[in-house]
Amino acid sequence: MTSTKSTPRSPLLAAYSALVFAFIYLPIGVLIVYSFNRDGVGGFPPRHLTLDWYRQLFSDSAIWDSVINSLIVAAASVALSLTLGLLAALALDRANFPGKALFRRLVLLPLILPGIITGLSLLMFAVFAGMQLSLFTVFLGHGTALISVATTELFAGLQKLDRAQEEASLDLGATPWQTFWLVTLPNLKLSLIAAGLLIFTLSMDEIAVTFFLIGRDNTLPLEIWGRLRRGITPEINAISALIFSVSVAFIVLWYRLRARSMSSAPREFAETS
Protein backbone atom coordinates (compact mmCIF):
# COMPACT_ATOMS: atom_id res chain seq x y z
CA MET A 1 0.00 0.00 0.00
CA THR A 2 2.69 2.49 0.98
CA SER A 3 4.38 3.18 -2.31
CA THR A 4 7.15 5.77 -2.29
CA LYS A 5 4.81 8.08 -4.11
CA SER A 6 2.27 8.19 -1.31
CA THR A 7 4.76 9.02 1.43
CA PRO A 8 6.58 12.14 0.31
CA ARG A 9 8.66 13.90 2.94
CA SER A 10 7.11 16.91 4.48
CA PRO A 11 9.24 18.38 7.27
CA LEU A 12 6.88 21.26 7.98
CA LEU A 13 3.90 18.99 8.46
CA ALA A 14 5.98 16.61 10.57
CA ALA A 15 7.06 19.49 12.81
CA TYR A 16 3.48 20.70 13.15
CA SER A 17 2.32 17.19 14.06
CA ALA A 18 5.06 16.97 16.66
CA LEU A 19 3.73 20.19 18.18
CA VAL A 20 0.21 18.79 18.29
CA PHE A 21 1.54 15.69 20.06
CA ALA A 22 3.34 17.96 22.50
CA PHE A 23 0.09 19.84 23.13
CA ILE A 24 -1.68 16.56 23.83
CA TYR A 25 0.97 15.10 26.13
CA LEU A 26 2.81 18.03 27.68
CA PRO A 27 0.12 18.87 30.29
CA ILE A 28 0.11 15.28 31.50
CA GLY A 29 3.91 15.26 31.57
CA VAL A 30 3.95 18.43 33.65
CA LEU A 31 1.35 16.97 36.00
CA ILE A 32 3.43 13.87 36.58
CA VAL A 33 6.69 15.78 37.11
CA TYR A 34 5.09 18.05 39.71
CA SER A 35 3.73 15.07 41.61
CA PHE A 36 7.36 14.68 42.73
CA ASN A 37 7.86 18.37 43.52
CA ARG A 38 8.26 19.14 47.22
CA ASP A 39 7.25 22.79 46.97
CA GLY A 40 3.83 22.49 45.42
CA VAL A 41 1.98 22.15 42.15
CA GLY A 42 3.48 25.23 40.46
CA GLY A 43 6.65 27.24 40.18
CA PHE A 44 9.57 26.63 37.87
CA PRO A 45 11.78 24.73 37.65
CA PRO A 46 10.56 21.86 39.83
CA ARG A 47 13.13 21.39 42.61
CA HIS A 48 13.65 19.06 45.53
CA LEU A 49 12.14 15.95 44.05
CA THR A 50 10.45 13.80 46.64
CA LEU A 51 8.14 10.83 47.05
CA ASP A 52 6.43 12.48 50.04
CA TRP A 53 3.26 13.23 48.13
CA TYR A 54 2.89 9.60 47.19
CA ARG A 55 3.51 8.62 50.79
CA GLN A 56 0.84 11.05 51.90
CA LEU A 57 -1.47 9.67 49.23
CA PHE A 58 -1.01 6.08 50.35
CA SER A 59 -1.91 6.95 53.93
CA ASP A 60 -4.94 9.01 52.84
CA SER A 61 -7.83 6.75 53.76
CA ALA A 62 -10.56 8.97 52.23
CA ILE A 63 -8.94 8.57 48.80
CA TRP A 64 -8.73 4.79 49.12
CA ASP A 65 -12.31 4.56 50.32
CA SER A 66 -13.33 6.41 47.19
CA VAL A 67 -11.15 4.11 45.08
CA ILE A 68 -12.99 1.12 46.52
CA ASN A 69 -16.35 2.79 45.81
CA SER A 70 -15.25 3.42 42.24
CA LEU A 71 -14.06 -0.16 41.82
CA ILE A 72 -17.40 -1.51 43.05
CA VAL A 73 -19.38 0.80 40.76
CA ALA A 74 -17.13 0.04 37.78
CA ALA A 75 -17.27 -3.74 38.25
CA ALA A 76 -21.05 -3.72 38.61
CA SER A 77 -21.41 -1.39 35.62
CA VAL A 78 -19.28 -3.68 33.49
CA ALA A 79 -21.47 -6.65 34.41
CA LEU A 80 -24.71 -4.79 33.71
CA SER A 81 -23.71 -3.05 30.50
CA LEU A 82 -21.96 -6.10 29.03
CA THR A 83 -25.00 -8.31 29.67
CA LEU A 84 -27.50 -5.86 28.24
CA GLY A 85 -25.11 -4.69 25.52
CA LEU A 86 -24.56 -8.27 24.38
CA LEU A 87 -28.30 -8.90 24.17
CA ALA A 88 -28.82 -5.58 22.41
CA ALA A 89 -26.05 -6.35 19.92
CA LEU A 90 -27.54 -9.80 19.25
CA ALA A 91 -30.98 -8.25 18.79
CA LEU A 92 -29.69 -5.58 16.42
CA ASP A 93 -27.69 -8.15 14.48
CA ARG A 94 -30.30 -10.88 14.22
CA ALA A 95 -33.82 -9.84 15.07
CA ASN A 96 -36.27 -7.48 13.48
CA PHE A 97 -38.62 -5.75 15.85
CA PRO A 98 -40.74 -2.62 15.75
CA GLY A 99 -38.76 0.46 16.73
CA LYS A 100 -35.40 -1.13 15.91
CA ALA A 101 -34.03 2.01 14.24
CA LEU A 102 -35.21 4.13 17.17
CA PHE A 103 -33.70 1.71 19.67
CA ARG A 104 -30.34 1.82 17.89
CA ARG A 105 -30.29 5.60 18.21
CA LEU A 106 -31.62 5.71 21.74
CA VAL A 107 -28.95 3.35 23.05
CA LEU A 108 -26.24 5.58 21.61
CA LEU A 109 -27.60 8.83 23.05
CA PRO A 110 -25.58 8.81 26.31
CA LEU A 111 -22.42 8.60 24.23
CA ILE A 112 -23.34 11.56 22.05
CA LEU A 113 -25.22 13.83 24.45
CA PRO A 114 -23.41 16.01 26.96
CA GLY A 115 -23.16 14.18 30.29
CA ILE A 116 -25.26 16.77 32.09
CA ILE A 117 -28.38 15.84 30.08
CA THR A 118 -28.10 12.14 30.88
CA GLY A 119 -27.08 12.84 34.47
CA LEU A 120 -29.99 15.17 35.18
CA SER A 121 -32.52 12.93 33.43
CA LEU A 122 -31.44 10.04 35.64
CA LEU A 123 -31.54 12.29 38.71
CA MET A 124 -35.16 13.19 37.92
CA PHE A 125 -35.89 9.51 37.39
CA ALA A 126 -34.34 8.59 40.75
CA VAL A 127 -36.38 11.24 42.55
CA PHE A 128 -39.50 10.22 40.62
CA ALA A 129 -38.96 6.59 41.63
CA GLY A 130 -38.31 7.60 45.24
CA MET A 131 -34.70 6.36 45.28
CA GLN A 132 -32.10 7.76 47.65
CA LEU A 133 -28.99 8.98 45.84
CA SER A 134 -26.18 6.55 46.58
CA LEU A 135 -23.55 4.45 44.87
CA PHE A 136 -26.48 2.41 43.58
CA THR A 137 -27.87 5.34 41.58
CA VAL A 138 -24.35 6.01 40.28
CA PHE A 139 -24.14 2.38 39.18
CA LEU A 140 -27.55 2.65 37.46
CA GLY A 141 -26.29 5.72 35.62
CA HIS A 142 -22.96 4.23 34.56
CA GLY A 143 -24.36 0.82 33.72
CA THR A 144 -27.15 2.28 31.61
CA ALA A 145 -25.09 4.96 29.86
CA LEU A 146 -22.32 2.49 29.03
CA ILE A 147 -24.70 0.04 27.32
CA SER A 148 -23.95 2.33 24.36
CA VAL A 149 -20.27 1.40 24.40
CA ALA A 150 -20.95 -2.30 25.03
CA THR A 151 -23.47 -2.49 22.19
CA THR A 152 -21.25 -0.81 19.59
CA GLU A 153 -18.17 -2.81 20.56
CA LEU A 154 -19.98 -6.16 20.68
CA PHE A 155 -21.99 -5.45 17.54
CA ALA A 156 -18.69 -4.92 15.73
CA GLY A 157 -17.48 -8.23 17.15
CA LEU A 158 -20.65 -10.01 16.02
CA GLN A 159 -20.26 -8.70 12.49
CA LYS A 160 -16.95 -10.53 12.25
CA LEU A 161 -18.44 -13.76 13.54
CA ASP A 162 -18.76 -16.69 11.18
CA ARG A 163 -22.42 -17.61 11.31
CA ALA A 164 -21.78 -20.94 9.61
CA GLN A 165 -20.39 -22.24 12.92
CA GLU A 166 -23.64 -21.50 14.70
CA GLU A 167 -25.61 -23.00 11.86
CA ALA A 168 -23.50 -26.16 12.00
CA SER A 169 -24.00 -26.38 15.74
CA LEU A 170 -27.78 -26.11 15.38
CA ASP A 171 -27.85 -28.58 12.46
CA LEU A 172 -25.86 -31.09 14.45
CA GLY A 173 -28.49 -31.08 17.15
CA ALA A 174 -27.30 -28.59 19.74
CA THR A 175 -30.04 -26.54 21.33
CA PRO A 176 -30.01 -22.77 20.76
CA TRP A 177 -29.00 -22.44 24.40
CA GLN A 178 -26.02 -24.79 23.98
CA THR A 179 -25.08 -23.04 20.75
CA PHE A 180 -25.09 -19.70 22.50
CA TRP A 181 -22.88 -20.87 25.36
CA LEU A 182 -20.58 -23.17 23.41
CA VAL A 183 -20.25 -21.39 20.06
CA THR A 184 -21.41 -17.78 20.09
CA LEU A 185 -20.00 -16.70 23.44
CA PRO A 186 -16.52 -18.29 23.13
CA ASN A 187 -16.16 -16.67 19.71
CA LEU A 188 -16.95 -13.31 21.23
CA LYS A 189 -14.52 -13.76 24.13
CA LEU A 190 -11.96 -11.21 22.94
CA SER A 191 -14.60 -8.63 22.11
CA LEU A 192 -16.19 -9.12 25.51
CA ILE A 193 -12.93 -8.70 27.40
CA ALA A 194 -11.96 -5.69 25.32
CA ALA A 195 -15.34 -4.02 25.79
CA GLY A 196 -15.21 -4.81 29.51
CA LEU A 197 -11.82 -3.11 29.87
CA LEU A 198 -13.01 -0.01 28.06
CA ILE A 199 -16.22 0.22 30.08
CA PHE A 200 -14.34 -0.32 33.33
CA THR A 201 -11.96 2.54 32.52
CA LEU A 202 -14.75 4.86 31.43
CA SER A 203 -16.73 4.14 34.59
CA MET A 204 -13.68 4.68 36.84
CA ASP A 205 -13.06 8.06 35.18
CA GLU A 206 -16.66 9.23 34.77
CA ILE A 207 -17.56 12.56 36.33
CA ALA A 208 -20.31 14.46 34.42
CA VAL A 209 -23.11 11.92 34.98
CA THR A 210 -21.84 10.89 38.43
CA PHE A 211 -21.93 14.52 39.52
CA PHE A 212 -25.73 14.46 39.69
CA LEU A 213 -26.24 10.92 40.99
CA ILE A 214 -23.78 10.80 43.84
CA GLY A 215 -25.00 10.31 47.39
CA ARG A 216 -22.91 10.42 50.54
CA ASP A 217 -20.14 8.09 49.31
CA ASN A 218 -17.79 9.56 46.74
CA THR A 219 -16.31 7.88 43.73
CA LEU A 220 -12.63 8.67 43.11
CA PRO A 221 -13.18 11.45 40.52
CA LEU A 222 -15.79 13.10 42.77
CA GLU A 223 -13.48 12.86 45.78
CA ILE A 224 -10.78 14.63 43.77
CA TRP A 225 -13.33 17.16 42.53
CA GLY A 226 -14.31 17.98 46.10
CA ARG A 227 -10.68 18.52 47.09
CA LEU A 228 -10.00 20.83 44.15
CA ARG A 229 -12.39 23.32 45.73
CA ARG A 230 -10.37 23.31 48.96
CA GLY A 231 -7.08 24.14 47.27
CA ILE A 232 -4.63 21.90 45.48
CA THR A 233 -1.52 20.03 46.56
CA PRO A 234 0.82 17.72 44.66
CA GLU A 235 -1.03 14.87 46.36
CA ILE A 236 -3.74 15.41 43.75
CA ASN A 237 -1.03 15.34 41.08
CA ALA A 238 0.11 12.02 42.51
CA ILE A 239 -3.33 10.40 42.38
CA SER A 240 -3.91 11.92 38.93
CA ALA A 241 -0.63 10.46 37.71
CA LEU A 242 -1.70 7.05 39.01
CA ILE A 243 -5.15 7.34 37.42
CA PHE A 244 -3.55 8.33 34.15
CA SER A 245 -1.08 5.42 34.19
CA VAL A 246 -3.69 2.83 35.06
CA SER A 247 -6.15 4.20 32.50
CA VAL A 248 -3.52 4.19 29.77
CA ALA A 249 -2.55 0.62 30.62
CA PHE A 250 -6.18 -0.50 30.39
CA ILE A 251 -6.83 1.40 27.17
CA VAL A 252 -3.70 0.01 25.52
CA LEU A 253 -4.79 -3.48 26.53
CA TRP A 254 -8.29 -2.81 25.17
CA TYR A 255 -6.85 -1.52 21.92
CA ARG A 256 -4.57 -4.55 21.45
CA LEU A 257 -7.34 -7.05 22.21
CA ARG A 258 -9.71 -5.22 19.92
CA ALA A 259 -7.16 -5.20 17.11
CA ARG A 260 -6.71 -8.93 17.60
CA SER A 261 -10.42 -9.67 17.60
CA MET A 262 -10.82 -7.64 14.41
CA SER A 263 -7.74 -9.01 12.70
CA SER A 264 -9.72 -11.56 10.71
CA ALA A 265 -11.55 -8.67 9.07
CA PRO A 266 -10.64 -7.34 5.65
CA ARG A 267 -8.30 -4.37 5.79
CA GLU A 268 -9.88 -0.99 5.96
CA PHE A 269 -8.90 0.02 2.46
CA ALA A 270 -10.50 -2.99 0.90
CA GLU A 271 -13.90 -1.98 2.22
CA THR A 272 -14.23 1.06 0.01
CA SER A 273 -13.53 -0.59 -3.32
Partner: protein, 281 residues
Protein backbone atom coordinates in the same frame (compact mmCIF):
# COMPACT_ATOMS: atom_id res chain seq x y z
CA UNK B 1 -31.98 -19.46 11.31
CA UNK B 2 -32.78 -17.91 14.71
CA UNK B 3 -36.06 -18.92 16.27
CA UNK B 4 -38.75 -16.53 17.38
CA UNK B 5 -38.06 -17.36 21.02
CA UNK B 6 -34.36 -16.57 20.57
CA UNK B 7 -35.13 -13.22 19.01
CA UNK B 8 -37.61 -12.34 21.74
CA UNK B 9 -35.22 -13.41 24.47
CA UNK B 10 -32.38 -11.24 23.20
CA UNK B 11 -34.50 -8.23 22.29
CA UNK B 12 -36.83 -7.86 25.26
CA UNK B 13 -34.41 -7.29 28.18
CA UNK B 14 -32.39 -4.49 26.58
CA UNK B 15 -35.56 -2.91 25.18
CA UNK B 16 -37.18 -2.92 28.61
CA UNK B 17 -34.09 -1.67 30.38
CA UNK B 18 -33.38 1.12 27.92
CA UNK B 19 -37.08 2.02 27.94
CA UNK B 20 -37.22 2.33 31.72
CA UNK B 21 -33.79 3.70 32.54
CA UNK B 22 -33.09 5.84 29.51
CA UNK B 23 -36.22 6.73 27.57
CA UNK B 24 -38.30 7.36 30.68
CA UNK B 25 -35.66 9.64 32.28
CA UNK B 26 -35.31 11.67 29.08
CA UNK B 27 -39.11 11.87 28.89
CA UNK B 28 -39.22 13.03 32.51
CA UNK B 29 -36.80 15.81 31.66
CA UNK B 30 -39.12 16.80 28.85
CA UNK B 31 -42.16 16.70 31.12
CA UNK B 32 -40.47 18.76 33.84
CA UNK B 33 -39.80 21.51 31.35
CA UNK B 34 -43.58 21.99 31.00
CA UNK B 35 -44.25 21.97 34.74
CA UNK B 36 -44.08 24.77 37.26
CA UNK B 37 -42.47 25.69 40.51
CA UNK B 38 -44.79 27.42 42.98
CA UNK B 39 -43.65 28.40 46.51
CA UNK B 40 -40.77 25.99 46.20
CA UNK B 41 -42.97 23.06 45.20
CA UNK B 42 -43.24 21.33 41.91
CA UNK B 43 -46.69 21.74 40.38
CA UNK B 44 -47.65 19.29 37.65
CA UNK B 45 -49.55 21.79 35.56
CA UNK B 46 -48.69 21.92 31.89
CA UNK B 47 -47.57 25.36 30.72
CA UNK B 48 -45.01 27.17 28.61
CA UNK B 49 -43.75 29.63 31.21
CA UNK B 50 -40.27 28.11 31.42
CA UNK B 51 -39.76 28.39 27.70
CA UNK B 52 -41.10 31.91 27.82
CA UNK B 53 -38.48 32.76 30.44
CA UNK B 54 -35.76 31.39 28.16
CA UNK B 55 -36.62 33.89 25.49
CA UNK B 56 -37.48 36.88 27.65
CA UNK B 57 -34.67 36.81 30.21
CA UNK B 58 -31.65 38.29 28.39
CA UNK B 59 -29.25 36.48 30.74
CA UNK B 60 -30.01 33.11 29.17
CA UNK B 61 -29.58 34.33 25.63
CA UNK B 62 -26.39 36.11 26.60
CA UNK B 63 -24.88 33.02 28.24
CA UNK B 64 -26.08 30.81 25.43
CA UNK B 65 -24.35 32.99 22.84
CA UNK B 66 -21.16 32.95 24.89
CA UNK B 67 -21.40 29.16 25.12
CA UNK B 68 -21.87 28.91 21.36
CA UNK B 69 -18.84 31.17 20.81
CA UNK B 70 -16.70 29.07 23.13
CA UNK B 71 -17.89 25.83 21.52
CA UNK B 72 -17.23 27.23 18.04
CA UNK B 73 -13.72 28.30 19.08
CA UNK B 74 -13.04 24.85 20.51
CA UNK B 75 -14.29 23.24 17.30
CA UNK B 76 -12.16 25.53 15.15
CA UNK B 77 -9.00 25.01 17.24
CA UNK B 78 -9.52 21.23 17.40
CA UNK B 79 -9.88 21.09 13.63
CA UNK B 80 -6.79 23.23 13.24
CA UNK B 81 -4.82 20.75 15.34
CA UNK B 82 -6.61 17.52 14.44
CA UNK B 83 -6.85 17.78 10.65
CA UNK B 84 -3.16 18.30 9.84
CA UNK B 85 -2.29 15.59 12.34
CA UNK B 86 -4.69 13.15 10.69
CA UNK B 87 -3.36 14.14 7.28
CA UNK B 88 0.20 13.61 8.39
CA UNK B 89 -0.54 10.21 9.87
CA UNK B 90 -2.49 9.04 6.88
CA UNK B 91 -0.14 10.19 4.13
CA UNK B 92 3.30 10.84 5.57
CA UNK B 93 3.90 8.87 8.73
CA UNK B 94 4.99 5.68 6.94
CA UNK B 95 5.72 2.68 9.14
CA UNK B 96 5.26 4.61 12.41
CA UNK B 97 1.65 5.27 11.55
CA UNK B 98 0.06 2.55 13.68
CA UNK B 99 2.00 3.55 16.78
CA UNK B 100 1.30 7.26 16.36
CA UNK B 101 -2.37 6.49 15.82
CA UNK B 102 -2.47 4.73 19.17
CA UNK B 103 -0.77 7.70 20.80
CA UNK B 104 -3.53 10.01 19.58
CA UNK B 105 -6.50 7.88 20.51
CA UNK B 106 -5.31 6.70 23.94
CA UNK B 107 -5.87 10.10 25.60
CA UNK B 108 -9.34 10.18 24.06
CA UNK B 109 -10.52 7.58 26.54
CA UNK B 110 -8.45 8.72 29.50
CA UNK B 111 -9.84 10.72 32.40
CA UNK B 112 -11.42 14.05 31.59
CA UNK B 113 -10.75 15.21 35.13
CA UNK B 114 -7.03 14.41 35.08
CA UNK B 115 -6.55 16.27 31.83
CA UNK B 116 -8.58 19.24 33.03
CA UNK B 117 -6.76 19.35 36.34
CA UNK B 118 -3.41 19.40 34.54
CA UNK B 119 -4.38 22.69 32.91
CA UNK B 120 -5.40 24.12 36.26
CA UNK B 121 -1.91 23.50 37.63
CA UNK B 122 -0.32 24.97 34.52
CA UNK B 123 -2.37 28.13 34.13
CA UNK B 124 -2.84 29.25 37.76
CA UNK B 125 -1.21 32.39 39.10
CA UNK B 126 1.30 30.24 41.05
CA UNK B 127 1.15 27.77 38.22
CA UNK B 128 3.81 26.18 36.08
CA UNK B 129 3.44 28.61 33.17
CA UNK B 130 3.81 31.67 35.38
CA UNK B 131 6.78 30.11 37.11
CA UNK B 132 8.33 29.39 33.74
CA UNK B 133 7.76 32.92 32.42
CA UNK B 134 9.27 34.47 35.54
CA UNK B 135 12.19 32.04 35.42
CA UNK B 136 12.97 33.31 31.91
CA UNK B 137 12.41 36.90 33.08
CA UNK B 138 9.70 37.40 30.48
CA UNK B 139 7.30 38.56 33.17
CA UNK B 140 8.09 39.89 36.62
CA UNK B 141 4.84 39.22 38.37
CA UNK B 142 2.43 36.35 38.07
CA UNK B 143 -0.03 36.84 35.25
CA UNK B 144 -3.48 36.12 36.60
CA UNK B 145 -5.54 36.08 33.42
CA UNK B 146 -4.40 32.67 32.15
CA UNK B 147 -6.72 30.85 34.51
CA UNK B 148 -10.38 31.73 35.07
CA UNK B 149 -11.11 33.05 31.62
CA UNK B 150 -12.94 31.84 28.51
CA UNK B 151 -9.47 31.37 27.04
CA UNK B 152 -8.64 28.72 29.65
CA UNK B 153 -11.90 26.89 28.90
CA UNK B 154 -11.20 26.93 25.16
CA UNK B 155 -7.66 25.68 25.74
CA UNK B 156 -8.75 22.86 28.04
CA UNK B 157 -11.62 21.72 25.85
CA UNK B 158 -9.48 21.90 22.71
CA UNK B 159 -7.00 19.66 24.47
CA UNK B 160 -9.75 17.21 25.31
CA UNK B 161 -11.57 17.19 21.97
CA UNK B 162 -8.64 17.24 19.52
CA UNK B 163 -8.42 13.41 19.56
CA UNK B 164 -12.22 13.24 19.06
CA UNK B 165 -11.90 15.42 15.98
CA UNK B 166 -8.87 13.54 14.75
CA UNK B 167 -10.54 10.14 14.79
CA UNK B 168 -13.28 10.53 12.12
CA UNK B 169 -11.03 12.69 9.93
CA UNK B 170 -8.33 10.04 9.99
CA UNK B 171 -10.90 7.35 9.18
CA UNK B 172 -12.16 9.43 6.24
CA UNK B 173 -8.63 10.00 4.93
CA UNK B 174 -7.84 6.30 5.24
CA UNK B 175 -10.89 5.49 3.15
CA UNK B 176 -9.81 7.62 0.21
CA UNK B 177 -8.72 5.18 -2.50
CA UNK B 178 -5.03 5.85 -3.09
CA UNK B 179 -5.26 5.36 -6.88
CA UNK B 180 -7.43 8.47 -6.97
CA UNK B 181 -4.62 10.53 -5.51
CA UNK B 182 -2.06 8.99 -7.82
CA UNK B 183 -4.34 9.71 -10.77
CA UNK B 184 -4.57 13.33 -9.72
CA UNK B 185 -0.78 13.56 -9.51
CA UNK B 186 -0.29 11.71 -12.80
CA UNK B 187 -2.67 14.09 -14.50
CA UNK B 188 -0.44 16.97 -13.50
CA UNK B 189 -2.04 18.40 -10.38
CA UNK B 190 0.46 19.68 -7.86
CA UNK B 191 0.21 18.74 -4.20
CA UNK B 192 -1.89 21.75 -3.32
CA UNK B 193 -4.43 21.07 -6.06
CA UNK B 194 -4.55 17.39 -5.20
CA UNK B 195 -5.27 18.32 -1.61
CA UNK B 196 -7.86 20.99 -2.33
CA UNK B 197 -9.69 19.18 -5.11
CA UNK B 198 -9.39 15.51 -4.22
CA UNK B 199 -8.43 14.90 -0.60
CA UNK B 200 -10.23 17.73 1.16
CA UNK B 201 -13.62 17.19 -0.51
CA UNK B 202 -13.44 13.46 0.19
CA UNK B 203 -12.61 14.05 3.83
CA UNK B 204 -15.52 16.43 4.44
CA UNK B 205 -17.75 13.74 6.00
CA UNK B 206 -15.08 12.95 8.60
CA UNK B 207 -14.42 16.61 9.18
CA UNK B 208 -18.12 17.27 9.73
CA UNK B 209 -18.45 14.34 12.13
CA UNK B 210 -15.45 15.49 14.16
CA UNK B 211 -16.56 19.11 14.23
CA UNK B 212 -20.06 18.14 15.36
CA UNK B 213 -18.71 16.01 18.19
CA UNK B 214 -16.44 18.79 19.44
CA UNK B 215 -19.16 21.42 19.17
CA UNK B 216 -21.94 19.42 20.76
CA UNK B 217 -19.85 18.12 23.65
CA UNK B 218 -18.42 21.58 24.35
CA UNK B 219 -21.89 23.10 24.20
CA UNK B 220 -23.07 20.97 27.11
CA UNK B 221 -19.90 21.12 29.18
CA UNK B 222 -20.21 22.44 32.72
CA UNK B 223 -17.04 21.07 34.31
CA UNK B 224 -14.44 23.05 32.38
CA UNK B 225 -15.94 26.42 33.41
CA UNK B 226 -15.99 25.26 37.04
CA UNK B 227 -12.45 23.94 36.85
CA UNK B 228 -10.60 26.61 34.87
CA UNK B 229 -13.21 29.09 33.65
CA UNK B 230 -14.45 31.20 36.52
CA UNK B 231 -17.48 33.52 36.41
CA UNK B 232 -16.50 35.23 33.14
CA UNK B 233 -16.71 31.88 31.36
CA UNK B 234 -20.00 30.62 32.80
CA UNK B 235 -21.64 28.42 30.20
CA UNK B 236 -25.24 27.43 29.65
CA UNK B 237 -24.84 24.06 31.36
CA UNK B 238 -23.58 25.85 34.48
CA UNK B 239 -26.89 27.69 34.65
CA UNK B 240 -28.71 24.38 34.37
CA UNK B 241 -26.51 22.91 37.08
CA UNK B 242 -27.19 25.80 39.47
CA UNK B 243 -30.94 25.64 38.74
CA UNK B 244 -30.84 22.00 39.79
CA UNK B 245 -28.70 22.82 42.80
CA UNK B 246 -28.77 25.96 44.92
CA UNK B 247 -31.29 27.92 42.83
CA UNK B 248 -33.68 24.97 42.93
CA UNK B 249 -35.88 25.50 39.88
CA UNK B 250 -36.01 22.12 38.18
CA UNK B 251 -38.66 23.03 35.59
CA UNK B 252 -36.64 25.98 34.31
CA UNK B 253 -33.43 23.91 34.40
CA UNK B 254 -35.21 21.17 32.49
CA UNK B 255 -36.39 23.67 29.87
CA UNK B 256 -32.82 24.84 29.26
CA UNK B 257 -31.67 21.20 29.11
CA UNK B 258 -34.32 20.45 26.53
CA UNK B 259 -33.04 23.47 24.59
CA UNK B 260 -29.47 22.06 24.67
CA UNK B 261 -30.86 18.64 23.71
CA UNK B 262 -32.77 20.03 20.74
CA UNK B 263 -29.79 22.03 19.46
CA UNK B 264 -27.62 18.92 19.85
CA UNK B 265 -30.00 16.58 18.06
CA UNK B 266 -30.71 19.07 15.28
CA UNK B 267 -26.98 19.48 14.67
CA UNK B 268 -26.34 15.73 14.72
CA UNK B 269 -29.22 15.16 12.34
CA UNK B 270 -28.13 17.93 9.98
CA UNK B 271 -24.52 16.77 9.82
CA UNK B 272 -25.63 13.19 9.28
CA UNK B 273 -27.59 14.31 6.23
CA UNK B 274 -24.66 16.39 5.00
CA UNK B 275 -22.21 13.54 5.58
CA UNK B 276 -24.37 11.24 3.47
CA UNK B 277 -24.50 13.79 0.68
CA UNK B 278 -20.75 14.29 0.70
CA UNK B 279 -19.69 10.75 1.27
CA UNK B 280 -17.78 8.93 -1.41
CA UNK B 281 -19.60 6.07 -3.07
Amino acid sequence: MYSRTYKTLVAVPPLLWVGIFLLLPYALMFAHSFWLLRDGFLVHRWNLQNYQALFTNPLYLHVFLRTARIAASVTFCSLLLGYPLAYYLSFHAGPRRELLYQFVIIPLWVSYLVRGYAWKTILGSDGVLNGFLQYLHITREPVSFFLYSPFAVILMLTHIYTPFVFLPIYAALEHIPRPLIEASQDLGANRRDTFLRVILPLSIPGLLAGATFAFVLSLGDFLAPLLVGGPSATMIANIVQSLFGAAYDWPLGAAISVGILLVTITLLFATERLEKRWSFK
